[in-house]
C-alpha cells in the first residue's frame, strides 16, 4: 500500500532515495506512461504503443520494456550490479518514489514513504539526500521537481493528444506474433497503434492542425518506434539464452 506524504524539510530532512536501478527498487515493470514531448527521445529505444484506460474514454501512451507483466528486458545484471540498458529512461520511471499532488491551487511534491526507493538507512552511501543541512534543497531534489513539472504538463498534453487520436480515428488495435529462438510462439495483444493509412488520408487542414500542436511529429515518432520491437525481441532471446545457459551449467 502506498504511504503518501507531502514532502517537507522537517519530517524528511534525513530521508535518502536510492537511485540505482533494479527489480528490488520497483523497476521490474513491463511498460511506463509516456507523453508526446518525450516521444522523440524514447522512440530510439522503446516501442511506444497505446492502451485503453480503465473506463474506455482515453488511450494512454506507453513505452514498452517487455512482453509480459513484470518483465523489464532493459534491466541487465552484470557482476552483481544492475543497470538499465538504455540511455533514456521515461520520466514516469525516473520520478519514483515522488509524485505530484495538488493542495488547493498549489502543486506540491509528495513522496511514497513505503516505496522501495526510500532508503531504510540515513547513512551517506544509502542514496541521494533531499535537503541541505540548513533546509535548502539538494540538486537531486531540484531535478526531481523539474521532472515532476514536466511530467505533469506532459500528461495533461497526453490527454489532449489521446482525444485528437480518437476524434481522427487514427488508432487501431494490433497484435504482435513473436517466434522466439526457443521455438515458442508468443502473442502480444491488447495494445493500439497508429493506422498509417488513415493518417495519410487526412485532409490538409487536419494535418495542419496536428502539426501546429506538435502532435503530427509525435504521431510519426510513435510510428517509427515500432521498429524497436525487433530490438526488444532480440533482448528477449538474449535473456532466454542466458537462462538456458544457466540451466545447462546447473545440469552439469
Amino acid at each position: 500500500m502506498p504511504n503518501h506524504a507531502i514532502l517537507n524539510n522537517v519530517d524528511h530532512k534525513h530521508l535518502r532515495v536510492i537511485t540505482a536501478r533494479g527489480a528490488a527498487y520497483g523497476d521490474a515493470v513491463m511498460s511506463a506512461l509516456t507523453f508526446p514531448a518525450e516521444f522523440r527521445e524514447l522512440q530510439a529505444h522503446y516501442p511506444i504503443v497505446f492502451a485503453k484506460n480503465a473506463d474506455g474514454t482515453a488511450f494512454d501512451a506507453l513505452a514498452l520494456f517487455g512482453f509480459q507483466s513484470g518483465e523489464n528486458l532493459f534491466l541487465e545484471e552484470r557482476d552483481g550490479a544492475v543497470r538499465w540498458d538504455a540511455p533514456a529512461i521515461p520520466l514516469s520511471v525516473e520520478r519514483q518514489p515522488f509524485l505530484i499532488g495538488r493542495g488547493g491551487e498549489e502543486l506540491s511534491i509528495h513522496v511514497d514513504l513505503d516505496h522501495p526507493r526510500v532508503s531504510p538507512s540515513e547513512s551517506a552511501d544509502a542514496g541521494e539526500s533531499l535537503f541541505l543541512t540548513y533546509g535548502g534543497t539538494t540538486e537531486y531534489l531540484e531535478r526531481i521537481a523539474s521532472v515532476l513539472r514536466t511530467l505533469h504538463d506532459g500528461l495533461d498534453d497526453a490527454r489532449n493528444f489521446s482525444a485528437a487520436l480518437i476524434e481522427l480515428e487514427l488508432l487501431e488495435s494490433f497484435v504482435v506474433d513473436i517466434e522466439l529462438d526457443d521455438g515458442s510462439q508468443n502473442r502480444l495483444g491488447g495494445f493500439y497503434t497508429i493506422n498509417e493509412e488513415r493518417l495519410r488520408a487526412l485532409s490538409g487542414e487536419r494535418l495542419e492542425r496536428l502539426s501546429r500542436t506538435g502532435y503530427l511529429q509525435a504521431i510519426w515518432m510513435a510510428v517509427a518506434s515500432l521498429s524497436q520491437f525487433r530490438a526488444l525481441i532480440d533482448r528477449k532471446n538474449r535473456s532466454l539464452t542466458r537462462s538456458m545457459a544457466g540451466t545447462h551449467a546447473f545440469n552439469r
Binding site: K52, G56, S173
Partner: protein
C-alpha cells in the same frame, strides 16, 4: 439496359421500412432508395426487444452504437426469463440466454445435467449469463468497444425513437430520399414484359412515384402484397392463439432502480405479460387470446402485474388487435413485403424485428441486378422465409406444448395434438431419447439454433431417456459446467451494473475501437 434495377421504393416508415432502406442503401450505394410514408400514421410501437443480430445490422448500416443507445433510449438485453410457464407455481422460472451453453457441441450437456445436476436449472448450470441477468450486470465493460461484447447481447429499445434515429441516418448519411405523402393507388404496368408488375404509386400531393422494386413495409394493412396483389394470409390462430395485446409504459419506482438485463415473460391465465426495461421506463404488455379472456379481465390482470411490480395503481393501456399468420408468399412480381405486412405471430422470443433484419439482409445480399434475375431471387426468398416462419411458429409453440399448467382451458388446449404442427410433433418424438441436434436444424441460417431448443426443453423440465453414447463424454460435460461457474465468478465482479454502464454511455459513449 431497360430492365436494370435502379430505383428501390420502400413504402412505410416504421422501423421495418427504415431498417430495410438503411440496409439496402448502405450496401448498394449506386441504387436510388426512396421511402414514402403517409404523414401522421403512428408506428405500431410493439417489438421493443431485439436479438444480438441487431448489433451486426446497426454496425452494417454504419451508425454509432453510443448514438443508438442515447437516441433510442436503448438498454441491453441478454435473453429472456420465463416466469410461471412450467407449472405456474411461485418460483417457477427459467432462462433462455443469448450465450450458447458452455462447450455446446463438445459433449452431451443435457444428458449430464439430467443424470446428475437436476437440482440446478439447466441454463444456470450450462451458462454464466443467467447469473449476470439475476445480478443486473451489463454484458460488457465501459472500455469494451462499440458492438463488441463480453456476454452476447441484443437490445431493448423505444421503437418510436428507433424509427426516427434510422430515418435521420438514412436521409443524412445514406442518401435515402424521404417522401411524406399518401399512397392513393398502385399503378401497374399495363402491357409488355412487365405487365403485372407495379409501375409506380400514385401519391396524393406529388404525382406518381415510379420504381423498379417496391418494398411493402405498410404494417398489418399490407397495402401492396396483401391489398394490391391479394396474397392471402396463412392464419395460425389454431396453433398460437394470441391475437390481442394491451401495452403500457410504466415509470421506475426510483430513478436509480435496477434495469433488468433480460425480457421477463410471465405466464397468465390466457397469455403472458412482457416486461422490458429501458433506461427511462419499463414497457409492459399483456398478449392474450381473445377467445380465452375478455379485454376487461385482461386489463385487470395487467393492472395487478403492474401494481405488484411497484407501478401505478391506475393505467390506461393501448389495445392492439392482430391476426396471427404470415403471407402465402412474401415476394410477388416486383414487390416484396418486410415486417408486419409479411406476417406477425406474437412477440414471444421477439422474432418480429429479427425477421425484418433477415429479410433486409437477404435482399441486400441477393439484390437482383436486373428484372430477369428478380423472379429467381423471389422464388428463393419465398422458399427461405416460408421455412423461417414455420420454424418460428414451431419454436414459439414449443413454449406452450411443454407447459404442465392446467389452470385454464387456454393452457390445456395448447397441448391438444390438433394444435401442434406435424414437424414439431416429429421432433418431440425424436427428443424423447436424445437432445435437439444440428441435424434437426440443417440450414446454414436457421432462425433458432438447436441450443435455443435445448434451453426451452430443459428449462421446462422435458425429460428424455436414451441409452448412453460414446460421444456423451459426461466428464467433459462436467468440465464445461465448472468452466461456466468459473466464468460466472470471474465476470460478476468485473462487469458494471446495467444502469451504471448505460449512464456511462450517456455521458461518455463507448470507445469505437
Amino acid at each position: 439496359m431497360s430492365n436494370t434495377i435502379e430505383h428501390i421504393v420502400v413504402v412505410g416508415g416504421g422501423s421495418a421500412g427504415w431498417l430495410a432502406a438503411a440496409v439496402i442503401a448502405a450496401e448498394h450505394r449506386h441504387l436510388r432508395v426512396t421511402l414514402v410514408e403517409s404523414p401522421g400514421v403512428p408506428p405500431i410501437g410493439v417489438g421493443e426487444g431485439t436479438w444480438p443480430s441487431m448489433r451486426d445490422t446497426l454496425h452494417r448500416i454504419g451508425v454509432s452504437e453510443s448514438d443508438f443507445f442515447r437516441e433510442c433510449d436503448a438498454a441491453f438485453k441478454q435473453g429472456s426469463r420465463f416466469d410461471r410457464w412450467v407449472d405456474g407455481s411461485d418460483g417457477d422460472y427459467y432462462f433462455h440466454p443469448f450465450v450458447l451453453p458452455q462447450g455446446y457441441g463438445d459433449a452431451n450437456l443435457a444428458a449430464a445435467w439430467q443424470a446428475r445436476h437436476r437440482e440446478v436449472p439447466f441454463a444456470d448450470l450450462a451458462s454464466f449469463q443467467p447469473h449476470l441477468c439475476v445480478q443486473g450486470r451489463a454484458p460488457k465493460q465501459a472500455r469494451t468497444p462499440e458492438f463488441a461484447a463480453v456476454a452476447n447481447y441484443g437490445y431493448h429499445l423505444d421503437a418510436g425513437k428507433f424509427g426516427v434515429f434510422l430515418r435521420t441516418h438514412c436521409v443524412d448519411k445514406l442518401g435515402v430520399r424521404h417522401v411524406l405523402d399518401h399512397v392513393d393507388a398502385v399503378v401497374p404496368h399495363e402491357d409488355g414484359e412487365r405487365r403485372g408488375d407495379i409501375a409506380g404509386l400514385r401519391l396524393r400531393e406529388s404525382g406518381t412515384l415510379t420504381g423498379d422494386l417496391f418494398i411493402d413495409c405498410t404494417g398489418m394493412q399490407s397495402l401492396l402484397l396483401g391489398g394490391h396483389y391479394g396474397v392471402p394470409l396463412l392464419h395460425q390462430k389454431h396453433v398460437l392463439f394470441n391475437d390481442r395485446a394491451l401495452a403500457v409504459q410504466v415509470p421506475y419506482a426510483t430513478p436509480d432502480a435496477p434495469i433488468a438485463s433480460q425480457t421477463t415473460s410471465t405466464a397468465q391465465s390466457a397469455g403472458w405479460i412482457w416486461d422490458i426495461g429501458l433506461p427511462t421506463r419499463r414497457g409492459i404488455g399483456y398478449v392474450y387470446s381473445s377467445a380465452h379472456v375478455g379485454d376487461e379481465e385482461a386489463a385487470r390482470q395487467l393492472g395487478d402485474y403492474v401494481v405488484a411490480g411497484g407501478g401505478p395503481a391506475s393505467i390506461s393501456p393501448r389495445r392492439i388487435a392482430f391476426e396471427p399468420g404470415y403471407r402465402e408468399r412474401f415476394w410477388q412480381r416486383n414487390c416484396v413485403a418486410i415486417g408486419l405486412s409479411a406476417g406477425f405471430i406474437e412477440p414471444l422470443e421477439a422474432s418480429a424485428l429479427a425477421l425484418v433484419e433477415m429479410s433486409a439482409a437477404w435482399l441486400a445480399d441477393d439484390m437482383p441486378a436486373t428484372r430477369a434475375q428478380m423472379d429467381v431471387v423471389a422464388a428463393r426468398f419465398n422458399e427461405a422465409f416460408t421455412y423461417r416462419w414455420e420454424r418460428v411458429i414451431e419454436f414459439l409453440k414449443l413454449h406452450y406444448v411443454l407447459s404442465t399448467r392446467s389452470d385454464s382451458s387456454y393452457w390445456i388446449e395448447h397441448r391438444q395434438a390438433g394444435s401442434i404442427p406435424a414437424r414439431l410433433q416429429e421432433l418431440l418424438e425424436l427428443w424423447r431419447t436424445r437432445p435437439p441436434s444440428r441435424r434437426d436444424f440443417p440450414r446454414i441460417e436457421e432462425v433458432f439454433p438447436s441450443a435455443s431448443y435445448q434451453y426451452i426443453l430443459y428449462g421446462m423440465q422435458f425429460a428424455f431417456d436414451g441409452a448412453p453414447r460414446a460421444s456423451d463424454l459426461p466428464q467433459e460435460a462436467d468440465r464445461h459446467f465448472r468452466e461456466a461457474a468459473r466464468l460466472t465468478a470471474q465476470m460478476l465482479p468485473a462487469l458494471p451494473s446495467n444502469r451504471a454502464l448505460l449512464e456511462h454511455i450517456r455521458m461518455h459513449g463507448l470507445p469505437r475501437i
